[in-house]
């Protein structure tokens, strides 16, 4: 037992050291690495929902977009009138000082984490009572409604978008901005991973799995399923909100349907990454997100203009041919590595039956 733990320790410390030094070694890819961290967080938290609980949601984008708008609004609104900022060219009139920028970012991220969590808790009781595909379609509707409504609200820029505060001009060093956002997202990634890992070792995960496998029976066994479902959704919302907040600062510009409530890109990506890696596994979403990101960044420029066609085809192929994902495939192939014991006699018997 201790041997495995030692192995894990080496793996984790290697990954953390890599994460710490990556922006300096691959300084040209800092933004990509930041994206990767955010994508992994999104995939992992989606996995809590779709993989462990069996509630396939398209609606986590709602919390992502909400976090993005909230973080930027708080960051601006703490010091300047928000309405004037979002008027055309308004962002040029006001300039954040360095202290104001970081203060605003800190408070903004706090709000971006808390409010989506509360929203998830508030709507959870109504929405999570739906099951299966009704839940999927309902959350799809929620995400898109969020984008359409945000695109009509004047104070956050409506259709013309919202420019988030630029990085303080006093820090002239261009590298600093990238490093700041990288480490912010890296800390978020570690926090999310530790949290998900903790959940994987807890009773909570077993309850989520029970809900996935058979909700009625779980209820009959005395589990208050609704309570756990809402808690699970709130956990996802917390990290999605934070990820959105960081992403808003990184991109520097928020558009209601193309950046924030981007159901067509981010909302699909998180589902796709989790499925590609393998739903319901700890490492699946991490691997899936990494592979997807490499594929996306590597091929996107080669097939300029055809990205969405490639994305759509990719979705269809993955969903039809690899619904179990990479981890599921490995598990099928090397079950002993996953700690599964196979009764050889039993296996042969089932093969003969076929």
């Amino acid at each position: 037992m201790s041997k495995i733990k030692q192995k894990d320790l080496i793996l984790y410390s290697a990954l953390i050291i890599f994460g710490l030094f990556a922006p300096f070694i691959f300084s040209a890819f800092k933004v990509q690495l930041t994206y990767l961290c955010i994508l992994i967080v999104l995939a992992m938290t989606w996995n809590l929902q779709g993989g462990e609980m069996g509630y396939n949601t398209f609606g986590n984008i709602l919390f992502y977009g909400l976090g993005m708008y909230l973080c930027a609004s708080v960051q601006v609104g703490m010091f300047f009138p928000l309405a004037e900022w979002t008027e055309s060219g308004g962002e040029k009139t006001f300039v954040h000082t360095t202290a104001q920028y970081f203060q605003g970012m800190g408070v903004g991220l706090l709000v971006a984490a808390i409010v989506p969590t509360i929203v998830a808790g508030a709507i959870g009781y109504a929405i999570l009572g739906l099951r299966g595909h009704y839940f999927a379609i309902c959350t799809l509707g929620l995400g898109i409604a969020g984008g359409e409504i945000a695109g009509g609200i004047e104070i956050i820029g409506a259709g013309q978008g919202f420019t988030t505060p630029p990085f303080p001009a006093e820090i002239v060093d261009n590298e600093a901005r990238g490093e700041f956002f990288y480490f912010l997202s890296f800390v978020l990634l570690i926090a999310a991973f530790v949290f998900v890992k903790y959940i994987y070792g807890s009773r909570f995960k077993l309850i989520l799995n029970a809900i996935r496998d058979n909700e009625d029976k779980a209820e009959a066994m005395g589990i208050q399923t609704m309570k756990y479902k809402i808690t699970g959704w709130m956990c996802s919302a917390f990290f999605c909100g934070l990820a959105g907040g960081i992403m808003g600062g990184l991109i520097g510009y928020i558009d209601s349907t193309d950046v924030a409530f981007d159901g067509r890109e981010m909302g699909v990506f998180m589902v796709l990454m989790a499925i590609l890696g393998g739903k319901g596994t700890l490492w699946g979403p991490v691997i899936g997100a990494t592979l997807f990101h490499i594929f996306k960044e590597g091929l996107w420029t080669l097939i300029l203009g055809w990205q969405y066609v490639a994305l759509g085809v990719l979705i269809v192929v993955i969903v039809i041919y690899f619904p179990e994902g990479l981890m599921g495939w490995l598990r099928e192939k090397y079950p002993e590595r996953f700690g599964e014991v196979i009764d050889e006699k039993d296996r042969k018997a089932s093969v003969e039956l076929k």
Partner: protein
């Protein structure tokens, strides 16, 4: 918020008539969705994009100098084969599997279709002019484009034709049998694979008709498919599978709701209101069923 509509009764008449005519069109799309949902048990997110593709077929005819109204005959024929090939290519692999897989797979198809339409037809908002003129009612205070009336009439005619076809023809009987029990139908000699392909083709053809009508009455854009999917989904869950009068009624109801939302909330919130209505309907039904300790299946 603007409550002008409640102060001017003629505006209400206008909105209701517009909504009803539009709703009949939605009902036609929803009927296609109910058909394939009932028979094949898949939810087709690409439904709206099939509609838009049908619309672009009519638009192409308009560009070629043919009157776009002929699209209601040409476009379903082309779309039937599009649907048939789509079934052979992708859909046949997701039938009998988890519904979420069909949702995701058709989502992928939707993305591909949107992008291809964007390449072929451009990202501009287009409309095919039918030049049918308008009808004035109540001392010119209510104006109805004749194209909308035309579209409602065509939709009703096609719906009636389809109902008769489903009742009387051999294929219609096979489709209904497969919807009731696919396995039993197979045992009794129905080629379910063929039935599924035909069902998806008919669904696509219905989308093609609706699309051609939308090209005349409303506007076309490669990315506006999803709202049509959501509308038809909404109509189907309110009306239930295979209940045609209810589908027509809830379609009209949705149309009227949309027109009123347009007047009250403003055009920029129209699509948002549609999606929120979907959420409200689902949540309402969930609470209603929860009283009986049941849930939506």
């Amino acid at each position: 918020m603007d409550f002008l509509i409640f102060k001017v009764p003629m505006l209400m008449v206008q909105a209701s008539l517009d909504g009803i005519l539009l709703g009949i069109l939605f009902a036609l799309i929803a009927y296609g969705m109910a058909l394939q949902w009932g028979v094949m048990n898949i939810i087709n997110i690409a439904q709206g994009d099939l509609v838009i593709l049908g619309g672009y077929i009519a638009y192409t005819m308009y560009l070629a100098g043919i009157h776009p109204a002929w699209g209601v005959i040409v476009s379903p024929i082309i779309m039937y084969f599009v649907g048939w090939y789509l079934y052979k290519l992708v859909i046949n692999k997701v039938v009998d599997r988890d519904l979420f897989i069909s949702i995701l797979a058709t989502f992928g198809i939707a993305i591909v279709m949107q992008q291809l339409m964007n390449f072929i037809f451009g990202a501009d908002v287009v409309v095919a002019q039918s030049e049918y003129g308008t009808t004035m009612l109540f001392d010119n205070s209510v104006t109805l484009p004749n194209s909308k009336i035309f579209s409602a009439v065509v939709s009703i005619l096609y719906a009636i034709a389809l109902v008769f076809y489903m009742k009387k023809s051999k294929l219609g009987r096979a489709i209904r049998a497969t919807a009731q029990n696919a396995r039993a139908a197979k045992i009794l000699g129905v080629d379910t694979e063929k039935v599924y392909a035909a069902t998806f083709g008919i669904n696509a053809a219905l989308c093609g008709i609706a699309g051609a009508l939308i090209a005349i009455t409303l506007t076309l854009h490669p990315y506006v498919g999803l709202p049509y999917t959501v509308r038809s989904f909404m109509i189907v869950i309110v009306a239930g599978l295979g209940n045609l009068p209810a589908v027509a009624l809830s379609g009209m109801g949705l149309g009227v709701f949309e027109e009123f939302a347009d007047y009250i909330l403003g055009t920029e919130f129209r699509i948002g209101a549609v999606f929120l209505l979907l959420v409200f309907i689902l949540v309402y039904r969930r609470f209603k069923l929860a009283k009986k300790r049941e849930y939506l299946k």
